[in-house]
Symmetry: C2
């Protein structure tokens, strides 16, 4: 196998986030699950948008956010995801390409429109997400560029996209392509609701050795393993994947790889403005360290620094110069 020329290629939802502040009474009044992610249909999307305050739009999508962080750190990235032929699709495509990420999935003509996520941000920074998947759920297997996957050190997949049928088939095909090419497969579990629907798929893939690097938060870890105890949950998975990275919100993160274990505290943040993208940007930093051959401890630290940047402002795409931030916080090594 030749050396890959891309660091990370990802398959994920192609979404534009629509964000507005709200108070918790409004979350309750609108019948939303605070802190969660809920898939919504057209009618609910209209009703929630109407109830939402003046908003701002920033490109999002979990894996796309992770790539935006990776690219900002200096990694070479590519993205596969489905937008429609509309203005929000143009916004998504612009933002990902402007970040230096290769993106060539053709627009999908006609309805439905490009995906959007209506995000209500509470005063403490907690985000409650309502996702209208639109075109994103129709990513066809034909969009999986096997040559591009074979040319990337890591294939990164988001669990959110396991829900709709076509992208699930596309991702299975991509995993096979990566395995055939001897590349690594990284997977993020995304949300407990995905595990409640597709946990059996994920456990089967993990048991079959199809996932090398697994990202989860502590809630997803418990949902996947059935272990309420954090350490028991770690132990249940740690030997089944090469690298397991688990975030614990304000308690930082833990990573296990073989016999090695490392922990990191959450990065201090002056004010938590909007937690949207915290897990996504943790994965950016961690994967960047991984593809650059850094220690497990350094990977965690890189993840914590990137997560800390993203929760200090609205939106899940980095605003600060991540490269400079990492250099400042970790010393001028090879970051």
């Amino acid at each position: 196998m030749p050396q890959p020329t891309t660091d990370v290629i990802a398959i994920g939802n192609a979404i534009v986030d629509v964000m507005a502040p709200c108070d918790d009474a409004e979350i309750e009044r609108l019948g939303m699950a605070r802190g969660g992610m809920t898939l919504i249909d057209t009618d609910r999307a209209h009703a929630l948008y109407e109830a939402m305050g003046p908003a701002r739009e920033v490109s999002g999508g979990s894996a796309a956010n992770t790539l935006a962080g990776l690219a900002a750190l200096g990694a070479k990235c590519a993205f596969i995801g489905q937008v429609a032929d509309d203005q929000l699709g143009e916004v998504f495509a612009h933002d990902i390409r402007a970040g230096g990420i290769a993106f060539s999935t053709p627009n999908r003509a006609g309805d439905p429109p490009t995906a959007r996520c209506l995000i209500f941000v509470s005063p403490d920074g907690q985000r409650t997400m309502n996702t209208y998947l639109g075109a994103s759920q129709f990513l066809p297997a034909a969009a999986v560029d096997e040559a591009a996957i074979a040319d990337a050190a890591v294939l990164y997949l988001e669990g959110y996209l396991w829900d709709p049928e076509e992208p699930r088939a596309a991702m299975r095909q991509a995993i096979a392509a990566a395995r055939n090419a001897g590349r690594k497969v990284a997977f993020t579990l995304s949300d407990a609701f995905v595990i409640s629907r597709f946990g059996d798929d994920f456990r089967a893939m993990i048991n079959a050795g199809d996932i090398d690097i697994l990202f989860a938060n502590h809630v997803e870890l418990a949902a996947l393993t059935g272990e309420d105890d954090f350490e028991a949950g770690l132990a249940a998975l740690a030997q089944k994947v090469q690298v397991l990275a688990v975030t614990r919100s304000e308690e930082g993160a833990v990573a296990v790889s073989g016999d090695e274990r490392a922990e990191v505290a959450a990065e201090p943040v002056a004010k938590v403005v909007d937690t949207t993208g915290a897990g996504d940007l943790f994965a950016s930093g961690f994967l960047f360290g991984h593809v650059r051959g850094r220690s497990l401890q350094d990977c965690l630290r890189l993840g914590a620094i990137c997560a800390g940047e993203i929760i200090s402002h609205y939106g899940a795409r980095p605003e600060a110069d991540l490269k400079a931030l990492v250099a400042e916080r970790m010393g001028h090594q090879d970051a």
Copy 2:
């Protein structure tokens, strides 16, 4: 005449701002006039968007921004402006209505799309604007709701919209409707380039007594009066309008009304992030004070506080609770 039930009705561009940070070398490379506003066509819009970094979208438009600030302060407002029947039009309409502002101008079908302004924000917060007017320039005179204008204490017009022909006719009709109903007309000069094209129109309107409240910055004051000296410029206009309010960037603002003159310093800001909307939000605070019958000095102070909020973050729509901010900074009067 019955008492008006609306405080301010405005006619302005219906624009979505697309903002990204940039450095000054990029401004030069792209041939833009740093700090200015330039009207661009479709080709230039595509070229500049392609050159722009990852961006965020927030509703804009000068007069619409002013109303957003007024409504946030507690004023009752209405807006007249033209969007297309597309996603950005939906974004604009949502944001203005979600701010509590009445907006009922029907969408315009077909091409061109909703207006957007590509804003390059320099490290010092200076904004360089490139406006693709799209549907906004086709605001028809039929959209001017004369009953709504007669029902508002103040009609507020933005000079930017004087450029295209149809909205210019619509605004002339609106001025006549306001005059007939005995309401006040407020006008912002917007930009020196507008004065270079339409200064004769503005001078004629001022001399005819059609403008009661005039907003300008120091550059526009000089352009309109031909007086390079600030005091001479003030003197040339002060007796021709009931209220003249002139901003001077970091030097604060001056207002003159009859024999009264007041000045205010710029509000201290921890970090100037993006100056987009500084003049618009100054007008919000000033007009709010005016319609509430506050002193000239209070009007200026309200303007300075609102301008200070808007330049401390990206985007020209307020993020902080303006009512609370004003109460905190001015004491709990009747703000």
